[in-house]
């Protein structure tokens, strides 16, 4: 469905030296620098998959999405979506896709929300019957009813975001690009939006590419993730595999009568774990042990802790995906170079 082959995008940037003198210099003799926003990005998404496309801020996610949607022309490399090269025939290509950029809106700013949908209906040539069915569906999942008659500029962020998602789904696109659709939203709205994505993916086999910084979006929605950093592919695989391969960190939380006598020293001396392999956080009655389960089996850690102090309760947390990604962000780029 979606093929990205060695996508590369360079920008020219004018470098300004600091201060007034630097400004003058930049005005008359600008020094140009080439910035590589995406470098040799390749991946493939089969039909009906929800792909989580993640990476830290400034990794080049949006640049890649903009190339896939046909807005930007790659410096080299090629993408092919549904057999089409987006840059070749933009007008026809965009009929088949829907897109949401979390920081922008495609709604008509000054018109009541309803009008935007009527405009989109004409632009995408959706017939009356289909339109009605679609609006009913979107109304139900995204709860647009209460603000559909208000001008878009008066909507709250959560309302606007739901409205934007609805707008991108109105014409039953084959591919949906969602660039941070849950940015800055509360739990209820996030849930609405996730429901909508899930339903549309299930019922219509819509292929979805989703970028987000919210890990629960990925856990709930994505079959597979592609991670990039500094413009390069860092990881491509399922979430499960990621956990297996990189999720060596385990977290044990102990509840005790008094944990003030627990120190990191005790653990370090007794267990032979290095600086990065062990973290202890403690407050009055609880303490948390994060450690590398490859260096030390969970069982041993448990029995050692029980020998130190009297424990009331224990909880074990699974490898935290956020932690894994944080590790990958930190190390991924470096190991590539």
């Amino acid at each position: 469905m979606i093929y990205a082959e060695h996508l590369r995008k360079e920008f020219q940037k004018i470098v300004k030296e600091p201060g007034l003198k630097g400004s003058f210099k930049a005005l008359f003799k600008p020094k140009k620098e080439t910035v590589v926003a995406a470098d040799d990005i390749s991946f493939h998404v089969p039909e009906g998959e929800i792909l989580g496309f993640i990476g830290p801020n400034g990794a080049g996610k949006s640049t890649v999405i903009k190339m896939l949607t046909g807005i930007l022309t790659p410096t080299s490399g090629e993408c092919r979506i549904n057999g089409k090269i987006p840059q070749n025939d933009r007008k026809n290509y965009v009929k088949e896709i829907g897109a949401v950029f979390g920081q922008r809106t495609q709604l008509w700013w000054d018109l009541p929300l309803q009008e935007t949908y009527l405009v989109l209906k004409e632009i995408y040539e959706v017939n009356d019957e289909k339109f009605k069915k679609r609006m009913d569906f979107l109304n139900e999942v995204l709860e647009l009813e209460s603000f559909i008659k208000s001008p878009v500029r008066t909507l709250s962020l959560g309302q606007r975001m739901r409205a934007d998602i609805a707008a991108s789904m109105l014409h039953s696109p084959k591919v949906l690009f969602l660039d941070e659709p849950t940015i800055g939203l509360d739990v209820v709205v996030k849930d609405n939006i996730r429901q909508a994505i899930m339903k549309i993916n299930k019922e219509e086999k819509t292929t979805v590419i989703l970028t987000t910084h919210d890990i629960s979006d990925i856990e709930l929605l994505c079959d597979r993730i592609v991670m990039i950093d500094k413009g390069k592919n860092v990881y491509d695989g399922s979430l499960h595999e990621l956990r297996e391969n990189f999720g060596q960190t385990r977290e044990l939380i102990f509840e005790t009568a008094n944990s003030s006598n627990i120190t990191e020293e005790q653990f370090r001396n007794g267990l032979d774990l290095g600086g990065n392999d062990l973290v202890i956080e403690s407050d009055k009655n609880n303490f948390k042990v994060k450690f590398n389960s490859r260096k030390l089996p969970v069982g041993e850690m448990l029995s050692y802790t029980l020998s130190l102090t009297k424990v009331k309760d224990i909880s074990v947390k699974d490898a935290d995906i956020e932690e894994i990604i944080r590790n990958l962000y930190r190390h991924g780029g470096e190991s590539d170079e």
Binding site: F11, S62, K66, T69, G70, I71, L72, T73, R90, K91, N92, V94, K95, I97, A99, F101, Q103, R104, T105, Q106, W108, D110, L111, E115, L118, V119, E122, I123, Y124, E125
Partner: protein, 272 residues
């Protein structure tokens, strides 16, 4: 054709809507233009008075009044702000959303303005024509309104709009290269103001300069329709002038397309 209209009419409607919502802006635009007209009127009256009150280079004072007010109204009517819109959209990156729609970019901009133009036609041009004709009747004592000239004026004004739109589109696409259009916008407005004859009638300029300017697209933007309305041109001259407008419209269409295809490859979206 029907499908085409249905797809683009919403853009026109949205244009009218925002005109109504920001009506103070529109009123300011109109009133500002009128004040400017009166300033020019008193200036030119001083010129005519010092000349003994008679005709000046083929213009009577009545002609001058009609010229001033009508050329101002015409340039407001055909005013295109699309270069500004494009500049703005490039600066804040919202051009992305326009590119994601399966519509022709040029036409979507054009229809957004057409809505406003229809409004201006009703609330600006028609009252102005009526007012000017009453004024002419009072000073000359006979009805001078000529329906043929008026219709030809409308035709010429439509062409003038297309030229103005395309010139603006070309300027707007420059934003893809320079990222911020503000300075270039000021340059553009002063060039057009002078070269189109809305500041000083081209007829008053030295012959060599006048002939050059009359062939440029800028003269086609308000000078040509106004001169046609005033009956300053004979039949052949009218045909020639309108032909020239069509030629410029076609040339500028080509030029804007050319710039567009170069520019779209250059696009880099600022801020996420």
């Amino acid at each position: 054709m029907n499908k085409l209209m249905r797809r683009y009419v919403p853009f026109a409607k949205a244009g009218v809507q925002s005109l109504i919502i920001y009506r103070l802006n529109f009123i300011g635009f109109v009133v500002g233009g009128l004040i400017y007209c009166f300033v020019m009127f008193y200036l030119w009256r001083a010129v005519f008075d010092s000349n003994g009150g008679g005709a000046f280079l083929g213009f009577s004072m009545t002609d001058m009044v009609v010229y001033l007010f009508l050329s101002n109204t015409t340039s407001q009517l055909i005013f295109s702000d699309v270069s500004n819109d494009i500049g703005q959209e490039i600066r804040d990156g919202s051009i992305v959303m326009r590119l994601l729609k399966p519509v022709n970019t040029d036409l979507s901009y054009m229809f957004a303005e057409l809505g406003a133009i229809v409004m201006k036609l009703v609330v600006l041009l028609i009252p102005m024509i009526v007012g000017l004709e009453i004024y002419r009747f009072c000073t000359a004592g006979v009805v001078m309104f000529n329906i043929v000239n008026f219709l030809l004026y409308l035709l010429s004004a439509v062409l003038a709009y297309i030229i103005s739109f395309r010139v603006n589109l070309c300027f707007g696409f420059i934003a893809f290269y320079v990222k911020n259009l503000w300075g270039i916008g000021i340059l553009k407005n002063s060039i057009i103001g002078f070269l189109s004859g809305s500041l000083i009638p081209l007829a008053f300029m030295p012959d060599g300069l006048r002939i050059c300017l009359e062939y440029l697209p800028f003269a086609s933007m308000s000078y040509t329709p106004v001169m046609i309305y005033m009956g300053k041109y004979g039949v052949y001259e009218i045909i020639f002038r309108i032909g020239l407008q069509i030629l410029w419209a076609v040339l500028l269409y080509g030029l804007s397309k050319l710039i567009w295809f170069g520019a779209i490859k250059k696009l880099c979206v600022q801020g996420g």
